[in-house]
């Protein structure tokens, strides 16, 4: 009896060891432990054996069954691992290949800058206002204390549409449009396209400006400085040096231009160089402007400023010519 069990055992273990896949392993299991398997058959024949034999056979059969099950499990694990390994190996991919999905698009650098500037002023409490590109001379000049015979008009190289109508040369006319619509206080920033008859490496006939206007009680030149310093430090970095120097605009008094000390690598020599760059114009709203919109100059004061969005985009990104901004060459647009 003992030999019979040992023969079955040796034979089964040999077959288990020889299996190479899960399917043949299962066949071995069925051949020994299945309903018609060799071990099962022995147990099934127990009824014909004596009680002593029955006990011994029972014990031996159960031991064998347990041993075979363990061997089967171990073999199964091994084979599963092998199969996984093969599967993984067969699925080997090149993870360096580009992913599937939308290739990146780009917001035009002018609008990236414009949005960033708007965000800074929005956080301070300014709201956005807009006005028309095709504008009356009244709003573009007269109401801004720039009458027809004012020399300041000469410097503007204005596009004319018809008598009394021009392409706005600045975003400032929106100051008037806004103040006409509301009593003080008012705090707006105005992004927009402006136009001048001029075209070379530093001038585009269309460019983008942003105007700012704040009118309330007790607004001072010191407030103007504070607001613009905050903007410039936020936009260009805390360490940027800023200077306000006197200038002239017909619709502000006192007026100033604001420069930053900008350090950049010289395109030709490769040396780092610092120089003062004009960034914006500003001043306290002129009493004549207030008169036009029936604001009380004695009770209210205000400041206005205007900055070239193209200009600060070019400064910050070291763009060499303004023409790049409007050529719309993808090799330019995709850099930002």
């Amino acid at each position: 009896m003992k030999e019979r069990f040992e023969t079955i055992r040796d034979e089964a273990l040999a077959r288990i060891g020889a299996t190479t896949d899960l399917k043949s392993l299962d066949e071995v299991r069925v051949a020994y432990l299945g309903r018609k398997g060799k071990v099962t058959e022995i147990l099934r024949g127990l009824g014909q054996a004596s009680p002593e034999e029955r006990k011994e056979i029972g014990q031996r059969a159960n031991t064998l069954k347990k041993e075979l099950n363990e061997c089967l499990d171990t073999r199964k694990n091994t084979l599963e691992e092998q199969e996984n390994l093969e599967k993984v190996q067969s699925e080997n991919i090149d993870i360096s290949l580009p992913g599937r999905g939308i290739p990146p698009g780009h917001v035009h650098v002018i609008n990236q800058i414009s949005d960033e500037v708007l965000d800074i002023f929005s956080q301070m409490g300014f709201q956005v206002a807009v006005g028309p590109d095709v504008e009356t001379e009244y709003y573009n000049f007269d109401a801004l204390n720039t009458p027809d015979d004012h020399p300041a008009r000469d410097s503007h190289d204005t596009f004319f549409v018809k008598p009394g109508v021009v392409l706005r040369t600045q975003t400032s006319p929106v100051q008037i449009r806004v103040m006409e619509q509301t009593p003080p206080p008012v705090a707006v920033v105005v992004p927009g396209r402006v136009y001048r008859v001029d075209l070379d490496a530093t001038h585009s006939p269309m460019f983008v400006q942003m105007e700012g206007l704040l009118v309330d009680k007790n607004i001072t030149f010191a407030d103007l400085k504070g607001t613009l310093m905050h903007f410039l430090h936020t936009f260009f970095g805390k360490d940027i040096q800023v200077r306000f120097r006197p200038h002239f605009f017909p619709f502000t008094e006192p007026s100033a231009e604001v420069d930053i000390l900008w350090t950049a690598r010289d395109r030709h020599t490769g040396e780092m160089k610092s120089k003062w760059l004009e960034i914006l114009g500003c001043g306290m709203v002129h009493p004549e402007v207030f008169k036009r919109v029936s604001y009380d100059y004695e009770s209210y004061s205000g400041y206005a400023f205007g900055l070239g969005i193209d200009r600060i985009a070019m400064v910050r990104h070291a763009v060499s010519s303004i023409t790049h901004l409007y050529d719309n060459d993808l090799r330019f647009l995709e850099q930002f």
Binding site: N111, D133, D149, H150, P185, P254, N328, L330
Partner: protein, 797 residues
């Protein structure tokens, strides 16, 4: 305006370096555009005299000169110029000399003849553009003198931008006066020394002003027996440093005085003035004048002229006439120093299209009180440099004195506006240093009279600016204002536009910004001509390519796509957001709706895992669906046929009944005219119209509690029947339980007949209050099939 540092020091005893001065001028509002040192690179150049000229043996175009530069031996110099003769004095660079541009002069052979130096033209000395010949110096120039000193080349020149309000800064005295006020220095005006002789001016000529408003003051002097000749080097040097070309001593002196005082003068040839009379009057109807530039100009009655007894001899304040021009034959001169109305000069200069130095000075507002000083300064120099005999007396017509303005300054107002407390005493001092004359001085305010050269000061706030400038913008503190907001909203859709821009870029589109100009021809080429007849035209366009303002974004999108294809881009996906311009009859200003345009051109974005394919209609429609879906709008397309789109692939985009744009495949003719490939697709939406009706906030609907029941339905229909038509039937027939309909497959080909296609839908049925059973959905499906059969001859596949 170019300001010579050396010259400036003749007016004020400056003790600062040029660098410090430049800083200070900047901070006073005198913007420095450039600082140059004209003689920086020049050394070892001396006054030489040609003592011999011989032809070159081997070169027709060269001569051999012997030039004496004051050394023991004259230099032999081979020279290519032809304008010199023996005896001429020429700036001569000797061996070892350096010249602008890094030139060094050495001994060398020219066609076999040794040359030991170089005689210079004005351009070689950085004194002008003239390179046609040598610079010939006056005979009395001292031999051997260092040219740097002689011609004032050892100088520093500040080029300043004079703002339009400060006409007074366009002169040496004006700039010196500003700096004298700041540094607390005394302004030293150049001397006037005239020895009058001969007949009284008043008995040789007369001045009458007919238009007092246009010419408040007119002064004249008579100068006799002048010698018209070249000016001395120092004067030439001053003019050249200011960027002017010396002509002759008389003209040069008037130009010099203009630089010095900012006051334009004019010299008439006295003998050419009929009856020796000066009449300041309006031009007569039909009158014309030949101006100094040789042009005959028609005058109008609103223009002021300086006339003699017969005719106009000068356009007042703009340009003199050729008939009374000073030339080398001139003996006697009537010198004019006048003050003209700025507006009148400006209107005349503009009317004649004649922008002159004089007109620019007058239109900014000259100084009526400097009239006599300027004419006396000129007379002093003419006496000295042109041997003029100055007739006694000035013909000074000044009917009504031009008074300054009295302006009140409340000290507290300065503080209030500037945000810094400046002592009243300090404020007062600043103003008086600048020439404002105190009329009244109280504890909390003062009243000052503006100086005659300050036409820009009209308001209290102008005085406050003066105080601020001289107090120093740097010394005004920085504070943050509390920002209070109007309760009005000025740009309600601005935020949506900005968000949409980000969204579009996130969808893989790249934004372009085109100029807003337009061209009717290009719009025709693009086929999008809905609004072309309403194009806003420009009177003075930049070029023929941009005669007006765009009415559509399409031409710009096509041109940009084409530009980039030509530079190698194969897959183009661009968008532009911006205004277009539609003129409206009877309205002064056009409408400026804000548009969005998308163009797809060439192949779809490539990926290694997929085959290359051209973009198609469903790509552009996908963008439309995504954009409008993202914004919450449901759109419908209505097919159209127009010249912009290929037949069968163009549609109007509608939201309910409102048309908001176009979508389609670019017509082949349009694509070809822009050099574009065949597969180009565009979408143009009027965002102003889209955002006109804001979407109401979404209202929550209960999340379904019971499972949905999914059914597929595939039908075979004629090719001409659209998915939208079928969907509409399904929707109507499906009853309230049908929640969604999606196309999931479209098939053409075997075994279907050629004119048929199969379309398959996913249908979702769901009830809010129970789990649906098969028989519920089956009933709906049967009804749907029946309706599809009835209305579109559909067969179940």
């Amino acid at each position: 305006m170019q300001i010579s540092f050396n010259w400036l020091k003749e007016f004020i005893a400056l003790e600062v370096t040029a660098h410090e001065l430049a800083e200070r001028m900047t901070m006073l509002g005198l913007e420095i555009e450039a600082i140059t040192e004209p003689g920086k690179e020049i050394s070892e150049v001396y006054v030489g005299q040609i003592i011999d000229i011989q032809p070159h043996p081997d070169a027709d175009k060269l001569v051999i000169c012997k030039t004496d530069v004051g050394d023991s031996e004259p230099l032999q110099i081979v020279c290519g110029a032809t304008n010199m003769k023996v005896g001429d004095k020429i700036p001569t660079a000797v061996k070892g000399a350096t010249l602008p541009g890094g030139f060094t002069i050495g001994k060398r052979k020219m066609r076999g003849v040794e040359s030991c130096g170089m005689m210079c033209s004005t351009r070689e000395l950085n004194l002008g553009e003239d390179h046609s010949g040598l610079m010939i110096l006056p005979q009395d120039t001292p031999l051997g003198a260092d040219i740097r000193k002689l011609l004032g080349l050892d100088d520093i020149v500040f080029e300043i931008e004079v703002t339009p309000n400060r006409g007074d800064w366009a002169s040496m005295i004006g700039v010196a006066r500003e700096l004298a006020a700041f540094y607390g220095l005394e302004l030293q005006l150049p001397k006037v020394e005239i020895n009058e002789s001969g007949e009284e001016a008043g008995s040789c000529a007369s001045v009458s002003i007919e238009e007092e408003n246009l010419c408040p003051r007119y002064a004249g002097r008579i100068l006799r027996n002048v010698t018209v000749k070249p000016s001395p080097p120092w004067l030439c040097a001053r003019l050249m440093a200011a960027g002017q070309r010396p002509i002759n001593n008389i003209v040069d002196i008037t130009n010099y005085i203009l630089l010095e005082t900012g006051h334009p003068l004019h010299a008439f040839d006295y003998e050419k003035l009929a009856e020796n009379r000066i009449v300041v009057r309006r031009a007569q109807q039909g009158e014309s004048i030949t101006t100094l530039d040789g042009e005959s100009r028609k005058l109008t009655e609103d223009m002021l002229v300086i006339a003699d007894a017969k005719q106009a001899q000068a356009v007042a304040g703009v340009m003199g006439g050729a008939d009374s021009e000073v030339d080398t034959q001139t003996k006697d001169i009537l010198l004019e120093s006048a003050y003209f109305n700025p507006r009148s000069v400006r209107a005349t200069a503009r009317g004649l299209g004649l922008v002159t130095e004089a007109a620019q000075h007058f239109q900014r507002g000259a100084d009526p009180e400097i009239v006599v000083y300027a004419i006396n300064r000129a007379a002093t120099l003419m006496q000295e440099l042109a041997d003029a005999e100055v007739a006694p007396g000035i013909l000074d017509e000044y009917p009504k004195r031009q008074e300054g303005k009295e302006i009140k300054l409340r000290y507290a107002r300065s503080t209030q506006l500037l945000g810094v407390d400046i002592e009243p005493k300090k404020q007062q001092t600043i103003l008086s240093d600048l020439g404002f004359v105190s009329q009244q001085s109280e504890e909390d305010f003062c009243v000052v009279l503006t100086p005659s050269w300050r036409h820009d000061v009209n308001h209290e706030t102008d005085l406050i600016e003066e105080v601020a400038r001289h107090y120093g913008y740097d010394d005004i503190p920085t504070t943050m204002p509390p920002i209070r907001q109007s309760d009005r909203v000025f740009a309600p859709v601005e935020k949506k536009i900005r968000a949409l821009r980000r969204f579009l870029a996130a969808q893989g589109l790249t934004e372009i910004v085109n100029w807003s100009f337009g061209n009717g021809e290009n719009e025709k080429k693009s086929g999008m001509t809905d609004q072309t007849e309403h194009m806003v035209m420009l009177q003075n366009p930049l070029s023929e390519n941009y005669p007006g303002m765009r009415t559509t974004l399409l031409p710009g999108l096509y041109a940009t796509a084409s530009y980039n294809h030509k530079r190698g881009a194969r897959s183009i996906q661009l968008f532009e957001m911006g205004p277009v311009y539609h003129a409206v009859d009877e309205k002064e200003l056009p409408e400026e709706p804000f548009y969005l345009g998308i163009v797809l051109s060439g192949i779809a974005p490539e990926h290694w895992s997929e085959a290359e394919r051209p973009v198609d209609f469903h790509d552009i429609k996908g963008f439309m669906d995504t954009v409008l879906g993202h914004l919450g709008y449901a759109v419908t397309l209505k097919q159209l046929s127009n010249s912009a789109f290929q037949e069968g692939q163009g549609a109007i985009v509608k939201i309910k009944k409102r048309q908001i744009g176009y979508i389609g495949k670019t017509a082949l003719a349009a694509a070809k005219s822009y050099d574009l490939p065949e597969s180009v697709f565009v979408l143009e939406l009027n965002l102003s119209k889209l955002f006109e009706r804001p979407m109401p906030p979404a209202q929550f609907k209960d999340i379904p509690q019971f499972p949905a029941s999914l059914r597929d339905l595939a039908v075979v229909v004629d090719l001409s029947i659209s998915a939208a038509e079928l969907t509409s039937v399904i929707k109507n027939a499906g009853g309230p339980l049908l929640k969604s309909i999606d196309v999931f497959d479209v098939y053409r080909g075997n075994p279907l007949p050629e004119n048929k296609k199969s379309i398959a839908f996913n249908l979702v049925f769901q009830s809010p209050d129970r789990t649906l059973k098969d028989k519920d959905t089956q009933k709906a499906i049967e009804k749907i099939i029946k309706k599809l059969q009835q209305q579109h001859g559909a067969e179940l596949r």
